[in-house]
């Protein structure tokens, strides 16, 4: 595929694109520990709203671009054991840290000291993975390795079918969130005050 810009230009474009991403993360509220953690406690649905919207808007656009020959897919291989174990660890780490790698970086800029300490933790985690890489590669990543498959490949449902389905799910979920989740703001911990 021919890039509309040179490789060198594309490299430097990464800075303004990253900045746009950083602005969106901060203004989206997801550079905030409370917002991230409360998603996993079903008290704040900002993370889900942002991610689901990004997936559908991004996915439909990229599919159109690809159809017109202006984009290609970059599918990560479905090493089922590695992805599942890694994602499980990721979920645990995300709630403990209170950020994911991208929002952690954005949170450092907001003045979050614990995000910065966790960032150092992430660098250490990267070192630990590099040290265990050979073993993980040989013993985990080769288990149930299905290759670079996509949902349309494994289900027989077309790309557009999937986006129609995802949009329908998103519509229902967003509607439920916007109509039902309001009263949750008043539930406080103080009701559990003990009686001694």
């Amino acid at each position: 595929m021919n890039l509309p810009v040179s490789v060198e230009t594309a490299r430097w474009l990464a800075i303004p694109m990253g900045m746009f991403f950083g602005v969106l993360l901060h203004r989206g509220g997801v550079a905030n520990y409370n917002v991230i953690v409360n998603q996993f406690r079903f008290k704040d649905f900002t993370v889900l709203k942002i991610m689901f919207t990004a997936i559908i808007v991004g996915g439909v656009g990229v599919l159109l671009l690809k159809g017109a020959g202006h984009a290609q897919y970059h599918i990560k291989p479905a090493n089922m054991l590695g992805v599942s174990l890694g994602a499980a660890l990721f979920g645990v780490g995300m709630v403990l840290y209170g950020y994911c790698p991208g929002t952690g970086v954005a949170a450092m800029a907001t003045g979050s000291i614990h995000a910065t300490v966790g960032f150092i933790g992430m660098l250490v985690g990267g070192v630990l993975y590099a040290l265990s890489f050979t073993w993980v590669e040989a013993n985990i990543q080769k288990v149930a390795a299905l290759g670079k498959v996509r949902l349309p490949d494994v289900t027989g449902v077309s790309d557009w079918g999937w986006f129609a389905l995802l949009s329908a799910i998103a519509g229902v979920v967003f509607w439920l969130i916007e109509t039902k989740s309001k009263p949750a703001a008043n539930t406080t911990v103080s009701t559990g005050e003990n009686k001694t």
Binding site: G29, Y33, G93, G121, L123, V124, G126
Partner: protein, 200 residues
């Protein structure tokens, strides 16, 4: 909805300014979607953070392992540190957030966030140890899974990649489980003398 954390008991007052500076989450999500169009159509590299972060970790290992030790590592040989688009994107993310924070005047040093202190108290070392451990675990997990919330969660899911949807669902499931355990209702210190009073 405009000021999600100003009234709810889940956040501190300090979050109020930040909450007021927020944009509509659907608009923000759409913005990230449009950014993905550029990432695929313009620079041919999906948005991602953790690959660049893990190659940056090789630099931190240099003083301990030496340049030969790092170069011989099979993982870093595959993803050596370089100032490529991914690394510049990572730096851009930091700069963009900083710019947004400065423009909205919401810079605020935070050691212990409100949701944490409600459950675990205001101890800074306690929070920092948890954040550090969380950082170690999340990065190890991200590399084992082959991506993070950006690379898998958004970029991968929007390509309808099987691996990314497995990641998305598993990550959320384990995050919820962790939150249930971590933020379970605690019997307060004094009720320990009445074991019958506490259920969980």
């Amino acid at each position: 909805m405009k000021e999600p954390n100003c009234t709810s008991g889940t956040s501190g007052d300090g979050d109020c300014a930040e909450a007021k500076a927020r944009w509509n989450p659907y608009l923000v999500g759409s913005g990230i979607g449009v950014l993905s169009w550029l990432a695929f159509g313009l620079v041919n590299q999906p948005l991602g953070i953790s690959t660049a972060l893990s190659s940056a970790s090789s630099v931190c290992a240099l003083p301990v392992m030496g340049s030969e030790g790092v170069a011989q590592n099979a993982y870093w040989a595959k993803t050596p540190f370089k100032w490529d688009g991914g690394m510049l994107f990572l730096i851009g993310t930091f700069l963009g957030s900083l710019l947004s924070v400065l423009v909205s005047r919401t810079f605020r040093l935070e050691k212990v966030p409100a949701t944490w202190s409600q459950q675990f108290g205001g101890s800074t070392p306690k929070r920092l140890v948890a954040a550090f451990l969380g950082g170690v675990i999340i990065m190890f997990g991200a590399r084992m899974a082959g991506g993070c919330t950006s690379g898998h969660g958004i970029s991968g899911s929007l390509q309808l990649a099987l691996s990314s949807w497995i990641f998305f669902l598993t990550m959320f499931a384990f995050g919820i489980l962790t939150a249930v355990v971590l933020f379970r209702k605690r019997a307060s210190a004094s009720s320990k003398t009445h074991p019958t009073a506490s259920e969980s």
